[in-house]
């Protein structure tokens, strides 16, 4: 029996919480400045109407931005003591974690929305192949969901937001860069590491090849982090 109503109420509260404080605006501005610079600085060099520069860098940028967005979700509650109030309302740990995870993922979606203007610019400049763009945005949303789940998990580990951020950042970075650290491994091992890494699956999708294995990968990462968080918080001892 899963009741989504409570999760939706929590999601709305967290999402509006982002926008009533300056956090949302600061994070979105930083994100757009960084991605915009990387996109436009290489756009005219390649002389091709594509968003490759933007999508190539996206996993790395999201590794920093998403944990920064999600770090407060549980840390702040535990720090201020409001966690006790939340957990004594008639909601289960699962409702709460799902609500917060969806808020994080929705925030990533909102943050990505203005970057659609890059696609429009590219389309105006030349003939843009829609496949990689659609794939890229689908991949970005899935990546955002998976990283949000990791960030929420990290946030539930510590009362301290900075600690939560660093834990979340570390996990996301390892997943993004694993195959780049380990290029010296023999190729069968490297393939396995590559398969575990998020960047490999994101590259596949953002080439415009939408494969169920890649989609399943991101959903599995999100599910594992989600279940881990629920376990951690549901344990009242």
């Amino acid at each position: 029996m899963m009741n989504y109503k409570e999760s939706v109420v929590i999601m709305k509260k967290e999402l509006s919480g982002y926008f009533t404080t300056p956090i949302a605006y600061i994070v979105i501005t930083v994100f757009l400045v960084i991605t915009g610079w990387f996109f436009f600085s290489t756009f005219f060099l390649y002389n091709q109407a594509e968003l490759r520069g933007f999508f190539q860098l996206l996993p790395l940028v999201l590794s920093f931005v998403v944990p920064a967005v999600t770090m407060r979700l549980f840390s702040e509650e535990k720090h201020s003591g409001s966690f006790e109030i939340l957990m004594t309302l008639p909601v289960s740990a699962r409702d709460v974690v799902l609500g917060k995870l969806l808020a994080g993922a929705a925030f990533v979606a909102i943050m990505l929305a203005p970057t659609l203007s890059y696609a429009v610019s590219a389309a105006l400049a030349g003939s843009l192949d829609p496949g990689p763009v659609v794939g890229g945005y689908l991949g970005a949303l899935l990546l955002g969901l998976a990283f949000s789940a990791i960030g929420v998990f990290a946030s539930s580990l510590s009362k301290n937001q900075i600690v939560a951020f660093i834990i979340g950042l570390s996990i996301c970075l390892v997943m993004t860069l694993a195959d780049k650290f380990l290029f010296f491994l023999p190729s069968p091992f490297l393939n396995a590491v590559e398969y575990i890494g998020a960047d490999f699956h994101f590259r596949n999708i953002s080439r415009g090849i939408i494969d169920s294995r890649d989609i399943l990968y991101f959903l599995s990462v999100a599910a594992i982090a989600f279940i881990g968080t629920v376990r951690l918080l549901g344990d009242r001892r």
Partner: protein, 312 residues
């Protein structure tokens, strides 16, 4: 309404609550009284499903806390100590949020509860900007928004000024006419002012569970006076006062400040003030002070833990 059977709770090796049992009936205001660290908050947290007990069983209404926590949470309204509410939310938004999580839609109930708790004028302020008194009242509104059968308040008056304390107590008494209320406190007078019944807890164990009136009469049985005089040494004073009828013992007081000072204890039910005064006057000493010592929580504890009041 609530029954707690042989419940224990450990934090690592530390035993916070040790095999406690009690029953709370519908429509009572019960005070959980004890010094800091006695296990009051832990007990309340187990009742509200925030912590799971390590042993024993707790039922609230018709539900066991470990089997149907959501049902238990639905019939309880709980305010943790110092009301840790979201500081960056507006009162109105916050109460709306809690209402929606509790399945209450619409502003009707919000208006009702804000009038009842006297928070109309702060509904559009951020919780973080409120004074402690208002924040506590918002906390009460949060706990009562769904009109719960059981209201559980952890140290509801701590950190408030005397006027706010009186207000909150009045509110609690008002609610207690219709609901079951449990509150924790380390202040004896708080229990006397608000509670029908008191459970005294120390080092994780219950050491007394009685009606407040009974506790009071037990406390007021034997009279204790502190007496300060000039003109005689403590020896003379003790000999003179100790010989009076109705006086059981005379002990020196520490802070004599150059006077002869003593704690005089009477037999149960005897007012020894007139004879003590007469004795001092007849001896020709100057009486600087004679005061009835009120029974403090500490005295009640010592009496209850050691039995009898000779050891006081």
């Amino acid at each position: 309404m609530i029954s707690v059977n042989n419940v224990s709770k450990y934090y690592g090796d530390f035993c916070a609550v040790n095999d406690i049992s009690f029953v709370i009936r519908r429509g009572e205001i019960t005070g959980l009284l004890g010094p800091n660290g006695a296990g009051k908050t832990t007990t309340l947290r187990m009742l509200t499903c925030y912590l799971a007990p390590d042993g024993g069983r707790i039922s609230v209404g018709d539900h066991m806390v470990d089997e149907e926590p959501l049902e238990v949470k639905r019939i309880i309204g709980y305010l943790p100590e110092s009301a840790p509410l979201y500081a960056d939310m507006m009162v109105y938004d916050y109460l709306g949020y809690v209402g929606r999580l509790r399945g209450i839609e619409g502003g009707e109930r919000l208006r009702e509860i804000s009038a009842m708790c006297g928070i109309d004028e702060v509904m559009h302020k951020n919780i973080g900007e409120l004074s402690k008194g208002y924040r506590q009242r918002v906390g009460l509104a949060h706990a009562m928004i769904h009109d719960p059968e059981i209201l559980i308040l952890d140290e509801p008056t701590s950190g408030l000024d005397p006027n706010q304390i009186v207000e909150i107590r009045r509110l609690i008494k008002e609610i207690g006419k219709r609901k079951t209320v449990i509150l924790s406190t380390h202040i004896l007078s708080e229990v006397e002012a608000t509670c029908d019944r008191v459970i005294i807890i120390d080092h994780g164990s219950i050491i007394a569970d009685s009606r407040t009136a009974d506790l009071k009469s037990a406390a007021g049985g034997a009279m204790r006076l502190s007496v300060r005089t000039k003109g005689a040494g403590f020896g003379d004073l003790a000999a003179t006062l100790g010989a009076l009828t109705g006086v059981r013992s005379v002990e020196p007081l520490d802070d004599a400040e150059g006077l002869s000072a003593a704690t005089v204890r009477g037999e149960g039910g005897v007012d020894i003030r007139p004879v003590v005064f007469a004795a001092v006057r007849d001896a020709g000493w100057d009486l600087y002070e004679m005061a009835t010592e009120h029974e403090t929580l500490e005295h009640v504890f010592r009496r209850l833990t050691r039995g009898g009041d000779d050891e006081l």
